[in-house]
């Protein structure tokens, strides 16, 4: 299960598991992001290539507008996945 909410500073807060079964819900939400946005991963336990694909599509779209996603509080496992994907070179990870 994946929960997507807005935090107190308008950051996007992801919680749970971002797997292929969550793609429709996530696609709908992320397609509505049109400006530079912070994504808080503190409560996200898991991500698969399905989730990575949505983040990549969003980052490409925002990049065309000169902005992008900023990812914070990324756990070690997910940080490894970003590294193995080369995504640590195309996302700002704090």
């Amino acid at each position: 299960m994946l929960d997507i909410t807005r935090g107190s500073n308008d950051e996007v807060v992801l919680a749970g598991r971002f797997d292929a079964a969550q793609v429709d819900k996530a696609k709908t939400f992320f397609s509505g992001i049109n400006e530079g946005t912070t994504i808080d991963f503190a409560s996200l336990d898991y991500i698969s290539s399905a989730g990575l694909g949505i983040l990549l599509a969003t980052q490409k779209r925002l990049s065309d507008r000169g902005t992008g996603l900023r990812l914070v509080n990324v756990n070690r496992h997910i940080r490894d996945v970003f590294h193995f994907s080369g995504f640590d070179q195309i996302f700002e990870i704090v």
Partner: protein, 142 residues
């Protein structure tokens, strides 16, 4: 029990049940929870590829987890599928490409190969079997 197996309906919505089987097995073997991310990741990528790239398939998908020679062995079986060897037929992914040149596709197989120690593929009488190995040395919690 050093093996657990089940068949799952050919549906992405069955993923939580696949994850439940993996969690039960890892817990029954007292395996370190550190393994869970990689195991779930590998099972999901192979399972979803079976579903997505064999849209005409009607059979269930088999999943088994077992311990064999200090290795965790994951076996996924599609009982009615064309041949697709992830070791030779998957697109090559260049992880150093800049954002503008990145395209979706192939990343899941690349990551499974990175996170697992070995990936084997078999195809016989329209049955595809993907076997994934992960060494267990130093991962037991006891």
């Amino acid at each position: 029990m050093t093996e657990m197996s089940a068949r799952f309906r050919r549906d992405i919505e069955a993923l939580p049940e696949v994850f439940d089987l993996a969690a039960q097995f890892l817990s029954s073997q007292q395996l370190d929870s550190e393994l869970r991310f990689a195991v779930d990741f590998a099972l999901e990528e192979v399972f979803t590829n079976f579903v997505k790239y064999n849209p005409g398939g009607v059979s269930d998908i088999g999943v088994s987890l077992r311990i064999e020679d200090d290795q965790l062995k994951l076996v996924l079986t599609d009982f009615d599928s064309p041949r697709f060897d992830p070791n030779s037929d998957a697109p090559v992914v260049d992880i150093n490409k800049p954002l503008a040149e990145r395209k979706p596709g192939g990343l899941g197989v690349h990551l499974v190969k990175t996170m697992m120690d070995r990936v084997e593929y078999g195809h016989e009488e329209r049955t595809s079997t993907i076997t994934l190995y992960k060494r267990l040395r130093g991962t037991c919690s006891t």
